[in-house]
């Protein structure tokens, strides 16, 4: 991958993303702020009235909040995969896309982290899940997958924030060196005095390798832990050993789709076509195809095992998923997550921006519905037929879900205009350094 780019040109192109934004930016930001406000107001209403303002009931105790929670945690995974795992494998094309992907991770986690609080019945005592001695020496129950979630997601948020901020330090130094006035002071603070000396680079690159090495197992383990929220249960459709790899593959699948959906408009808005090339998007598309196949395989295996095992509970739940009250969501999964991405076998579709967008939107919707199918159908139709029942859709619940999407994109838009969205130092590392003669 060789551009006819120079260091100087790179810096120029990639710092002009921080120029004063145009009118449309502000319009989008205000719309997103409204979405966040709707979500915040819905949450306020819920805290004061009770969880009953959402649509859950007995038996469906988890509905859209946990669906959206697992969705956002999933989206967060592909960012770390691109920035950490591809780093360790020395994959060159990651250099220009990993910063935005890492931002997707950090903001996805910042969004996902709200949901354990949102779905709690008594959120004002949420701190009882923190590991400190309470009520005379009682700690939280470390056997509970929800506590594993607390640890895993806090760790993942901490680690990816550290990785994100650390990776940005040399770039923020570049910005610091180019701006003047109050902005110079701000970026000096963020760059923490980075000067690019060999000693700094030596320790920095060593730390970077270890951060990447430590973030790598998180990609696999965090979503496995989140999937064990379900697999540790006994209800049919949840109690399945395939959940950890299945969810991790699904997470990367949805994350790649979100990264593609973010990169394409960003690339157009900032005119970054030289840095985020068709090759990058194609590589992401190929990766998406791979994860689509794994996810499709997992769906098929689940159905096969439900039949092959002869377990009447498993069979019943899969028949319900395919033909019961939510049958259309089940079939939508196959179409959105498995069949539509198969278009990417053809180079024509991989290289076409419109198809990339269509497929990514389909995958995003499909992956949200996958979590919905797993959670809602298994709860609605488990062991005792007397207690079967369906939840209802309420405005509060919808408001909070929309608020979460608005919050994510709001954070990303602020990031896009305050920090460099493409990593300058890593792109420059891939280029030929300037030579005199």
């Amino acid at each position: 991958m060789s551009f006819k780019l120079t260091y100087t040109q790179t810096d120029l192109d990639l710092t002009q993303t921080l120029n004063k934004p145009n009118r449309w930016y502000y319009v989008c930001l205000i719309l997103l702020a409204f979405g966040v406000a709707w979500g915040a107001f819905s949450w306020y209403h819920q805290i004061f009235s009770g969880i009953g303002v959402a649509g859950k009931n007995n038996p469906v105790g988890w509905y859209l909040y946990i669906t959206t929670f697992v969705f956002w945690v999933g989206i967060a995974h592909s960012g770390t995969l691109i920035s950490a795992i591809l780093f360790l494998f020395r994959v060159k094309w990651r250099a220009s896309v990993y910063r935005s992907a890492e931002a997707v991770t950090v903001f996805g986690l910042a969004t996902a982290g709200l949901f354990p609080l949102l779905h709690m019945g008594r959120v004002w005592v949420f701190y009882w899940t923190m590991p400190y001695p309470q009520m005379g020496g009682l700690f939280p129950n470390f056997r509970s997958p929800l506590i594993w979630d607390v640890f895993a997601i806090s760790t993942y948020l901490t680690v990816s924030s550290i990785f994100f901020i650390t990776g940005m330090v040399p770039d923020v130094a570049i910005v610091r060196d180019k701006v003047r006035g109050w902005r110079k002071k701000l970026y000096s603070l963020l760059a923490q005095g980075w000067q690019g000396t060999d000693i700094q680079w030596k320790h920095y690159t060593s730390a970077y390798v270890f951060l990447a090495a430590l973030a790598t197992p998180l990609v696999i383990s965090v979503h496995s832990i989140v999937s064990w929220d379900f697999a540790m249960s006994i209800i049919p459709g949840w109690h399945s050993t395939i959940f950890a790899p299945y969810f991790v593959a699904g997470a990367i699948h949805s994350g790649l789709a979100m990264v593609i959906l973010i990169l394409i408009p960003m690339r157009n808005a900032f005119r970054l076509h030289a840095y985020i090339t068709a090759h990058h998007l194609e590589s992401l598309a190929k990766f998406l195809l791979f994860t689509a196949s794994i996810v499709g395989f997992a769906y098929t295996i689940e159905v096969f095992i439900a039949w092959y095992s002869g377990n009447p509970w498993e069979r019943a739940i899969f028949l319900y998923r395919a033909f019961g009250d939510y049958w259309w969501t089940f079939w939508a999964l196959f179409v959105c997550n498995l069949f539509i991405p198969q278009l990417f076998w053809f180079k024509k579709f991989r290289r076409n921006i419109s198809f990339l967008i269509i497929v990514s939107i389909a995958v995003t919707i499909g992956m949200w519905f996958e979590r919905f199918v797993i959670i809602t159908t298994s709860l609605a139709h488990d062991f005792d037929p007397y207690s079967w029942g369906l939840p209802s859709l309420t405005l509060t619940e919808i408001g909070i879900v929309i608020g979460s999407f608005s919050w994510f994109f709001f954070l990303f838009m602020i990031f896009a205009k305050t920090l460099p969205v493409v990593s300058m130092w890593e792109v420059k590392e891939q280029l030929e350094p300037p030579k005199v003669g």
Partner: protein, 389 residues
Amino acid sequence: MMTWENVVEINPSDAKKMIIKRGDILKIISKYGEIELPAYDHNGIKEGTIAISIGYGHTDYGRYAKYSGVNVIGLLSSDPNIYSGGIQWSGIPVTIVKMEKTKRLANVSGSDYSYGRNIIETISINELINQSHSNGDHTEGNKLSIYKSHDHPKHRWGMTIDLDKCIGCSACVTSCYAENNVPVVGKKQVELGRELSWIRIERFFEEQTTQQLESNEMITGFIPMMCQQCDNAPCEPVCPVYAAYHTEEGLNGQVYNRCIGTRYCANNCPYKVRRFNWFDYDFPEPLNWQLNPDVTVRSKGVMEKCTFCIQRIVEGKMNARIESRQFQDGDVVTACQQVCPANAIIFGDLKDPNSKVNKVRDENRSRQYRVFEELNTEPAIVYLKRIKS
């Protein structure tokens, strides 16, 4: 099973013929009047007939009776029954017209059928006679576990429920509401599926073929279902804050003050006996005077369930200690046991070999079973199979 209003009870095959779904509003027209109310199809009604409960549709009977349901008396003739001299409650020909409206019903049951899941088990007399030998002691069950079970040093509470005696009257449900300060959630919340009863009568229609009856017949079975106080409770390990834990006496404890309301325990319960407080519910005057001072009133966001009337257990043990004597069988009577007119529910100490709960199990070994035994939850409640003739 309907609450809060009356409905047109209609046989499912009739409903199918007329393309009526549960909840469709029907207009019922007789010679004397017409009313509109929703349909509820179930197998308890003979084909060709419909039934509607009386006593609903009051206009002046207080805030809860007012406008609840529809007054059916307008359909009846004013001529007395020729035999009894009373009102003609039955045998009135009516016309059913399907209206184009539907409403959500305050129905507490999900499905009316058990789909062969053996929740209510029956045994025929012949099988009973042939199986006079022991069928295994169900107080221990088949321990398919790699973990050792824990000790019960003093008491071990258990219950036996005889399905042959249970008549499905729901007195146990009412007494539990009264004893444990269970709030009444109201019609809207029941429609959304949030009723809070700790014990409930589950009713299933099951097809039975027996040698005596030569055809398939739908019979109704009911089972009182409450927290099974499982030894291997699936609800306990998943609570993030230890609000659900196992006591030394074999009870599944629920600590209301500790619950943060994640609802994982309810998701994991196969019996779905854990109920959540979706709101702060009212106890409007004068209902608040009826509250039991020995039991907390739960706030919103807290999970609750049957506790085997732990307040009565504590009181019983305390009384024994005050009176300087050993705890005896009969010192503790749970609320449901207390009101059951058929004495179907027996509660007691499983460590006491002479307790009634053990005696009833021993005398009925071949009828013992536990619900969802194969899930290995090890419930403390043993049901005795209904004897079918």
